[in-house]
Symmetry: C2
Subunit: 477 residues, 2 copies
């Protein structure tokens, strides 16, 4: 008999059919009712054991976490809480789970405890829901871009370039660090390294993606990127997945349209395809919010937040307007901000972004046209000579979820900006080539995938939305 | 007027409509006919310039590689070679391309030359076709697994474990290598490193994927993996993308069924969705084959090879049968093999795999039940005590494209095998936990994505199917 999944059965009303199921025991009560889960859905299926016909040794081995195989008949349930159940004819224990030792018991575990058991935490309702939603979001990303004429592009992970400028980098080497080969001058001979020079882990695939956009038109990357910064926060990871679309002939307005349409589309996909998981996470989120002091509590449920993003236009605000709003804001005047906004040119901190999004506009905000000197060299200079065509998308509770720009397509301007920042042209000769040969305006952005998952699942800590988080002092598993 | 793409227009017969197109000049002949490409398809669209109404300076700037914007009218073409064309009303040069300097001229360039210009090679027909097919295959992978109930799982890239056993690893560090912190005993103090210990780049996400399969049922990874081996061949990369499905409750037969169905499905997707690119690559492949000596020439065109894989069953052969075939084969008896097969237990070399696939069976082959001592510790031991439930899928021209196995689910057997190989249990405590708590039979495999792209596009060198290849001594861009 072919094995079926719980997800398949729960959608079925083909009663009296014989089924075979394999999965893990979530709970077993009254020596009779097994809640069986096989990962295909957040929902368990109730399997009813006839304990009089089942030997006692087997009954004792039906413990939380045990893997079992069940043959039985699908029937309408007489009990509350489920419409169908399985009347078990035969049960087999595939793998035991000693209740004295198994860390994941049917009770509330702290997220800290579960992080230390990241190999087992996906066996809980919360983490299985988060990871299924993460998977659905991932597919939605590929689907959106494919249906909109984009080509997926694999940016290199190991890079010989250290001029990407987006953050601190990890070194990659095969040299014997205890006893490295040396030059005559006593320095390490990097020509003996695997790639014949020093290499790093990428912080962004953008520069390479630009070379592909200038040939294929619309491309996107979706891969891991790395930051060696000592940030121990609830929204930073040392290793995270980034989505970076890059489009030839797009200006900054097109770029904002793309970012907004993209985010709405992938959230919509999850609302449609991950109903049960989102419903569970909505309940969890709302429970957690209730434990917070009234002032910190979210005004919306998770589902309301997701629907709000999908249904409302993102507010587009220039940096200059934002500075005016912030300067005249209550927390600025009352000196409640840690960093007081005095004048145009200030770099915005997380507290300012959150004020704009959560208190002032109360919706996702796109800030654009930032001062040139607080943004990267490759962003297109405006005619005012002091701002660049940069944009950040800010989300409630998350802060910056997207950073992007129209790129500087004029060779001379780009060269001047690189010179001013001491970026050597020979480091980026290939990047400059895109401006020498058939240059054109183009734009793109980067979206941190885990921040999107965090927002969509309502999880408070980014370490809880990636299977095995890497953070300072932590690379277990 | 909204910009359209060449792909959209070539499917249109909405004549006399006004259109705006942006793209790059592939060729310009007779001061009149521009072949314009925008990356959306391998096909160019012909734009006909009225040279009498266009100023000479502009005409001179229409050179290969220049970015232009064209406004005009879509009309039926009177010329040969295309059914539609654009009668240009207005042309604007967006970015020049000096023909004296632009490396990509409309002539045949060697693949070696193009590898040195990997940032520009995607502007050629061959590489744009390869990269679009790569993108289509990538989407087909996600689509197949999503539609078959799998969840995408992000395996960690930086790993604290060096027991994955699949190959040589790259070290990842933030220590100052010139001047590293030392312990009292003069050794490097790795506790001062970013993660508080030595870390490496992953060679496989399998072990972590197994922990997820034992909760979500069916999972797959699709991410970069790394091998620090000094292999300078046409089928090895130091950085490559790997697809690794892992399924709870699957045995080796299920695993073979999955591998075969999966490969057929993704190739079918490309045959259906990338017709123009595959047709172009088929022509290129067949031309190239003609330049080879008759004996080395492929008996099939690229399209025939792809259809053959989709339409025929993979031949399943045990290692023991394969050894018998090889031992009695002509090249073995005539000592034409570099490694003569004398007895059961020999590790198969590429020459043997190619003989089986290309000469003996003439179809994709799945070899299974290999000797335990030439395979990894986590493969399930058969009752004979000397073979394991391993499988390799071998493809014509490529060799091994998939390696997989049923995993050893019995805790004691796994512990014995690890002990025999001096793998410390504390290194893989979390992996052993999956066997302690709710263990069950499960299986999976790894498929090197670039080998799949190589097979599907007919490209001879794996460096030509990934945007920026990383190989020994080479991490440019």
């Amino acid at each position: 008999m072919i094995r079926t999944t719980v997800a398949e059965l729960l959608g079925s009303n083909n009663f009296l059919q014989d089924v075979t199921l394999k999965g893990w025991v979530r709970t077993f009560r009254a020596n009779r009712f097994i809640a069986l889960n096989d990962g295909s859905t957040i929902n368990n299926i109730q399997c009813v054991v006839d304990f009089e016909k089942t030997d006692e040794t087997t009954l004792k081995r039906i413990t939380t976490g045990a893997a079992i195989s069940v043959k039985g008949t699908l029937i309408e349930s007489q009990g509350k809480g489920q419409s169908i159940e399985i009347q078990v004819n035969k049960i087999e224990i595939l793998g035991d789970s000693n209740p004295e030792e198994y860390p994941i018991q049917p009770k509330k575990h702290s997220f800290e405890f579960l992080r230390e058991n990241a190999h087992l935490r996906v066996r809980t309702n919360t983490f299985s829901a988060v990871m299924r939603v993460r998977s659905a979001l991932s597919f939605a990303v590929h689907k959106y871009f494919t249906e909109n004429g984009f080509y997926n592009f694999s940016a290199p992970i190991i890079t010989g370039s250290d001029a990407e400028g987006a953050g601190e980098m990890f070194k990659v080497t095969t040299l014997d660090i205890e006893n490295p080969p040396k030059n005559e001058d006593g320095k390490i001979d990097t020509s003996k390294d695997f790639f014949g020079k020093m290499t790093n882990l990428t912080v962004s695939g953008q520069l390479e993606a630009e070379t592909y956009a200038m040939a294929l038109g619309k491309v996107y990357t979706f891969g891991p990127t790395f930051r060696a910064e000592n940030s121990n926060t609830t929204r930073h990871l040392s290793e995270f997945w980034m989505i970076e679309p890059e489009v030839a002939f797009n200006n900054l307005d097109d770029n904002m349209d793309l970012a907004e349409d993209f985010i709405k589309s992938v959230i919509n996909y999850v609302l449609e395809h991950s109903k049960d998981d989102i419903a569970f996470l909505d309940g969890r989120y709302n429970q957690e919010e209730k434990t917070k002091p009234a002032l910190q509590r979210s005004e919306m449920t998770l589902l309301e937040k997701l629907n709000f993003v999908v249904e409302n236009n993102f507010k587009r605000v220039s940096y200059t307007e934002a500075i005016d709003i912030l300067r005249n804001s209550k927390p600025n005047k009352k000196k409640k901000f840690q960093y007081i906004i005095n004048e145009w040119g200030a770099d915005l901190q997380s507290e300012h972004e959150r004020f704009l999004v959560e208190k002032h506009f109360k919706c996702p905000v796109i800030l654009f046209d930032y001062p040139a000197n607080i943004k990267a060299f490759y962003m297109r200079l405006n005619d005012d000579g002091k701002t660049v065509r940069a944009m950040d998308v800010l989300f409630p509770g998350i802060g910056e979820i997207v950073g992007g720009s129209q790129r500087e397509e004029r060779l001379e301007v780009l060269q001047q900006k690189m010179a001013a920042l001491d970026i050597e042209e020979k480091e980026l000769w290939w990047y400059l080539d895109t401006r020498k040969f058939g240059t054109a305006e183009h734009s793109g952005f980067g979206l941190g995938f885990e921040r999107l998952v965090q927002f969509t699942t309502g999880m408070g800590n980014i370490r809880d939305v990636i299977p095995f988080p890497r953070t300072p002092q932590n690379a277990e598993f």
